[in-house]
């Protein structure tokens, strides 16, 4: 009696845990859900994985039920050992042929999908995607159709948020500057590793304007968990506006914004050795050329020319928008989304808290190998951004300057 009660408790708690685990899979707000495709590539995967999942599920249920039934039906009740036989060709052949048929049924469409997803001949736009500890850089080369059709007359370099036109077959050339990373926007396609010295191709296409979140899916060191990314899909007209804005020439802060003028000076002293701002001039009038290759292990730091046209920073791990403004953009209908995204970050919407914390002490916010006393191994180079010891006044000036970068 006692033991059967203990058993029923065990069974009940097992059921409860399974149900909880199962329900946890049904989150309402799940931006990285592979079951909600938002583009043709992801749909192809979905069209394959659903039937496979059902087939596997049915097979699984049958097998589990059969095992459970055998365990119960033939449990040891002290009966004599049944007759032992060896070999039953008819049964064995059947049990081999059925799985083979099922696997062929699954295999043929799988191979077809693999080839479909590897196709590159229908590419309409090509973007370079480069991973490094712990953020993604995107560069939009001014080569071929990028220049001729999409108006990218000069290369555009951004980070964190990839911006692509709607219903356009984009091909990403994925690589890495240090260790292996992996690019994955679950709603748009499968994942693709970025491997140093290799270029891997990944198709990406979104059929609905909006923001699609993802996350580096290859463990890449200390801040792997803070290496996120987003892909922003804009309608074709909005995309043209976005490109035009990115290519607009640099303008120094006007004299009546004294704080931003001060910020530009500070930026040249403190930040410009790592961060490129296209068009920024040195005090002697020569163009400023950042040299991240001398200070950072990966040889790169985010290009800040148009920082405030994106909504996130530092590996898309923090928002540049306040929570209210962010919700406004994320929850916009697809008709309104473009205009809201293109508005960028205004002074009222700027997430001052996180950006200031970053400028005050970046390695404290995001773990990075940026302790200047421990850099012998890398020849004095940082992984990530070091703490620069700025005063609050300096941070005010720099924030004022950064707010104009859009």
């Amino acid at each position: 009696m006692k033991s059967s009660r203990r058993w029923s408790t065990a069974i009940k708690s097992t059921l409860a845990v399974s149900a909880l685990t199962f329900l946890a899979g049904c989150a309402k707000d799940a931006p990285q859900d592979t079951w909600q495709p938002a583009g043709p590539n992801a749909e192809k995967i979905d069209n394959l994985q659903r039937p496979v999942f059902y087939v596997a599920g049915i097979v699984g249920v049958i097998v589990f039920a059969a095992v459970a039934w055998v365990i119960f039906r033939y449990r040891d009740r002290g009966q004599a050992l049944p007759e032992q036989t060896h070999g039953k060709p008819a049964l064995e052949i059947t049990l081999t042929v059925i799985p083979v048929l099922i696997l062929i049924g699954v295999g043929v469409p799988t191979v077809g999908t693999i080839f479909d997803l590897a196709k590159t001949s229908d590419t309409e736009m090509t973007i370079n995607v480069t991973g490094q500890q712990w953020w993604w850089e995107y560069d939009y080369p001014a080569v071929g159709d990028n220049a001729d059709v999409y108006g990218i007359s000069e290369p555009i370099v951004t980070s964190g948020q990839l911006v692509i036109p709607e219903d356009t077959k984009v091909l990403l050339r994925v690589t890495s500057r240090d260790v292996i990373h992996s690019y994955w926007i679950p709603k748009l396609n499968g994942k693709k590793d970025g491997v140093p010295g290799r270029v891997h191709l990944l198709r990406l296409e979104g059929s609905e304007p909006g923001i699609y979140a993802g996350q580096c899916t290859e463990f890449c060191g200390l801040s792997h968990a803070y290496m996120r990314m987003e892909t922003v899909v804009l309608s074709k007209t909005d995309y043209a506006a976005w490109v035009a804005n990115q290519l607009e020439p640099y303008a120094s802060p006007s004299a009546d914004n004294a704080l931003a003028v001060e910020g530009e000076k500070l930026f040249l002293q403190q930040c410009a050795r790592c961060h490129q701002v296209n068009g920024l001039l040195n005090p002697d009038g020569t163009p400023n050329i950042a040299a991240p290759d001398q200070y950072v292990v990966s040889g790169a730091a985010p290009n800040l020319t148009n920082l405030m046209t994106r909504n996130t920073f530092a590996g898309a791990s923090w928002d540049l928008l306040t929570p209210e403004c962010r919700d406004d953009v994320w929850n916009a209908s697809s008709a309104e989304f473009g205009a809201k995204y293109l508005a960028g970050v205004s002074e009222d919407c700027l997430n001052q808290k996180d950006l200031r914390e970053w400028l005050r002490n970046a390695p404290e916010k995001k773990p990075m190998y940026a302790d200047p006393t421990k850099l012998t191994e890398t020849g004095g180079k940082y992984r990530g951004m070091p703490a620069l010891g700025l005063t609050e006044d300096q941070i005010n000036a720099i924030v004022a300057y950064l707010l104009e970068r859009k």
Binding site: T120, N128, D139, R173, I289
Partner: protein
């Protein structure tokens, strides 16, 4: 009483003591080596003393009558060719002194080896009146040295012969010759293992013949010299000048630096009918401009379909070093393939640290000698 066995140990002990003193002098005092050698000497003298005490273990010290009749007390005389070897080595030393230091060094080593062998042979010949037993005693002492040293020498001869043969025969016949040789070894080996009866003598003789043939071929081909391209490259002093310049003439006829081509190429550059163009994943057709990610290793593959030999040169800006005192040095950043003939393929790998707008000259891919052949490289 100093018995035959203990004599050996005392001798070794003395040699070790001398070695310890020499080590001490050579290493300016205080060294772990001296301590180790001194301990070894003490241990050897100790064991030597025990060997003396027990008359090499042949007779009990109490059995005094047996002392004279024991094996250790007998003398047999064996024949030895080590005096001849020593004399030969001495001759080599003399010849080496007047001709080349190499011969002198080999002579010295050989002299030591022969003297050592002679010493041990003499010693073991006195072990007993039984020559077979004496030979066994000798082998206990010298085999741990003779076998590894002899084996290494044999290996060195084989490796050296192989390398001389490979450097001398042409690139085309090399793979065929060595494929056949490998197949033969495999075949003979399996024959021997299948036919259990094969006598040791036959196998030994076979191995001997092969060794002689191999080293003979090695010596002959070493005298014949290396194959043409290698000789030319050496004469041209291939590494003394800028390999991308016009003056580098040596061509890699059958360009083989295409390994990276198989791994991953960022762009393929083709010279065909006097036109230079690029192909890249992601763009259809022929490109006159390519894009490479900054600060990132990129492999560029060059395919020469022209009748003449050509090389591809990638130029990506200039660095200016300040040497102080108003003097600065400009270094053009460039990378190139070697000259390759028609149908040849070669890759270069470049890491471009600065964006293209940092340079006044556009970054480019060119082929020296082909007018107007240029592809722009865009680095964002």
């Amino acid at each position: 009483m100093i018995t035959t066995g203990s004599k050996f140990l005392y001798g070794l002990g003395t040699a070790t003591t001398v070695a310890a003193i020499l080590w001490f002098i050579a290493n300016d005092g205080g060294s772990i080596g001296v301590v180790a050698l001194a301990f070894l000497a003490v241990a050897l003298f100790f064991i030597g003393a025990i060997a003396s005490f027990v008359r090499d273990g042949h007779v009990l010290s109490t059995e005094t009558e047996a002392h004279a009749s024991s094996n250790a007390a007998q003398r047999g005389v064996g024949r030895s060719w080590f005096p001849f070897g020593t004399a030969f080595a001495t001759g080599m030393v003399a010849v080496g002194l007047v001709s080349s230091p190499g011969i002198f060094k080999v002579g010295i080593c050989l002299q030591f080896a022969m003297l050592g062998e002679w010493l041990i042979k003499n010693w073991s010949d006195r072990a007993s009146s039984n020559p077979a037993y004496n030979e066994k005693v000798r082998s206990w002492v010298v085999h741990p040295l003779e076998i590894p040293v002899g084996g290494s020498l044999l290996l060195a001869v084989i490796v050296l012969s192989f390398s001389r043969i490979m450097l001398s025969i042409s690139k085309e016949s090399g793979p065929i010759v060595f494929a056949i040789a490998g197949a033969l070894v495999l075949f003979v080996g399996s024959m021997i293992s299948v036919r259990r009866g094969a006598s040791r003598r036959i196998v030994g003789a076979l191995a001997g013949v092969v060794l002689v043939a191999l080293s003979g071929a090695g010596i002959a081909l070493a005298l014949d010299g290396e194959r043409h391209e290698l000789t030319v490259a050496a004469e041209e002093d291939h590494f003394a000048h800028r390999p991308c310049g016009e003056e580098a003439e040596e061509a890699d006829e059958d360009a083989g630096r295409a390994v990276s081509a198989k791994s991953s190429v960022a762009a393929t550059v083709i010279l065909r009918d006097g036109r230079l163009f690029a192909e890249m994943d992601g763009w259809a057709g022929e490109l006159s401009a390519i894009t490479l990610q900054r600060s990132n290793p990129s492999n560029i593959l060059f395919i020469n379909e022209d009748d003449h030999e050509h090389r591809m040169v990638v130029t990506y800006g200039m660095i200016t070093e300040d040497l102080g005192g108003g003097v600065s040095k400009d270094t053009v950043l460039e990378a190139c393939t070697s000259l390759i003939g028609k149908g040849g393929t070669q890759a270069v790998s470049v890491v471009i640290p600065k964006p293209s707008f940092a340079s006044e000259e556009p970054y480019s891919i060119t082929v020296p000698g082909v007018e107007g052949a240029s592809i722009e490289i865009q680095v964002p």
